[in-house]
Every structure is written in C-alpha cells, then in structure tokens.
Symmetry: D3
Subunit: 63 residues, 6 copies
C-alpha cells in the first residue's frame, strides 16, 4: 500500500517520469518489501513561482 | 475539522464533484460525528501521465 | 485511482473509521464513477495541539 | 527541514506569494527555531470548483 | 480557505506551535488577502529517522 | 527540489527506510535529473486500521 507523492519542478518528460516511476517501484520492492502492484506513485508538477526556499521563490533566485 | 484531499484522474465534471462532496460530507457527519461546516474537501485532478501503479504510468497501460 | 487523505482530530474509533471508509467509497462509486477496488482512503489523526484555525490552536480555544 | 504546503484559491500574484513566503519563513525562524535555508514552501492553487465546505463547492456558494 | 500543512521535525513545544500558527496566519492575512477565520494550519511532527535529504536519513547524518 | 512523501504501513525498520531513501534518491538523480542534495524524502507510517481499500480497512481484511 505505499502511496508515493512527488512534488517536483515542472518540465520532466513523460519518459523521465515513466523511468523514475519504474525505478522507485523497484526500490520499494527491493528495500521495503512491497509488492509491485501495491505501489502507487503520483507526480505533481510545481512552477518555480510556487516554490520558495529560505523565503525566496525559485522563480526569483538570482534576481 | 476534517480536511479531505482527493487525488483523482482528471475528467470529472463540476456536477460530479458537487455530488461527491455532498455525499462525502454526509458520510463524515453520519459516521464520524463531524459538523457539516467543519468538513473541507479538496479535489486534485491528476493526469494519467502523472500516476503510476506497479511502476507503469496509467497513460502507458496497455501499450 | 482516487486516493483520499482525511486529516481529522484524533479520537474516532476503528468502527467509525470503517463505516466512514465504506460510505466514502460508495460516494465515489456512485457520484464519480470509480470502481470500489480503485478507492484508497487514509485517515491521519491530528492532535488538537497541532491544528490551528484563525491563528489559534484548537487545544487553546476557549482559554 | 520544515516543508510547508499551502493549498489556496487560485488568483494570488507572484508578488503576493513572494511576500507570503518571506513572512512565513520569518515566522518559522523566529518561533520554531528553523534556519532560513531549511524552510521550503509550496503554493498549490486550487479552483473554487475543486474546494467544498459543508458539502458545497465554493464555485456554487450563493447559487 | 488556505490550508497550510507543515511537516517538521518533532520536538517543538505547544507554545512554539501556537506562536508559529499566529504569525503564519498574520502573514497570510497581510500578504495574501486571507481572512483569519479562513486559515487552517496543521503541524505534522516527523522523526529524524523518517526524513532523508540527499539519500541519507537525518537520524544517520554524521554517522 | 523534489519532495517525496511516502505513506506506507507501519513496521519497516530504520535500515529498510535508509536503503529505500538512498535508492529513491538515486532513481531521481538518474532518471529525473535531480541533484542528490535537492531530494527530500519523508516516510509517514500508517496503521492498518487507518487505511482502507475498496471501502474496507486493511485491519479488517479477511474478517
């Protein structure tokens, strides 16, 4: 039953997400004893103008 | 104070979400002793290319 | 594939959660066209000292 | 390491989000002993048709 | 309607959380045009053995 | 900046979580072009009495 939510910057291709999902599922099967069918992974794209670190939006870093 | 977050595939109509929200609120009132005003429900649409089960993106199932 | 996360105050019994889960699943099947098997529901208990509304922790309301 | 996720109605400007992120980071530094660099804040815009209170979607309030 | 979820290391006192919640609510009122009553904040304590950065659990940093 | 949240049944050891975190970070570096330092992973343990599939709590499956 693991449910994996990944918040990440927009811009990855479907191919990148497909490969990432496969590799993360393998990681959970190998190291956490999950069955492949039980693993659900959700990618949530986030714009740089919606993510701040140390109080500064990523879209404004280097300004 | 229940906060209900529902991640689901894109494509439901506003009418479906309105009916679902009403029914889920009733369920929480009836079975969990919540007051209607305290129940907040958030629908988060997810594309099939952003959701993987058993390591395979839903957009690539059956390929 | 709906994944439903419910943050709510601690204190509900397993029976209340079982009935709530069943009713919410029925709501999603009836109103959002989901299949029962696709519906996952996660209850996350929250202490009143961890939940604030209007800037006041629930544990300090009425103080 | 605090990770702050803010679900809020769509419509805020980047300037509003930048100021909010700065002020929330300061709040966590001042009151929770965090270092600025450790604070990550994610804004998730939500449409009124995706948020219900007391069983009614915000987009249908007042109808 | 902003819902603010804060995942942070365990160990803050209720007083720290109360002050943080008040300051974050003020930040959202002042910079994002929210009303105080609409702001909900949830603190989720996380153990160091449940949080990894750069592939290393916080509980194992410096080992 | 990927933030990975993993909701999973309680019971994994710290060693399992450490190995899983390392492997998932490698997956994100290799397939999604992330830097190791940017990857944060949070494990959230969930009791079987708090997780329902098809309307039935995991703690009541097989009853």
């Amino acid at each position: 039953m693991p449910f994996v939510r990944i918040d990440l910057f927009s811009g990855r291709t479907e191919e990148q997400k497909a490969n990432t999902a496969r590799a993360i599922t393998e990681a959970l099967v190998q190291h956490a004893g999950c069955t492949p069918d039980s693993v659900q992974i959700l990618f949530a794209d986030v714009e740089k103008s919606d993510w701040a670190t140390a109080g500064v939006l990523a879209s404004r870093r280097g300004q």
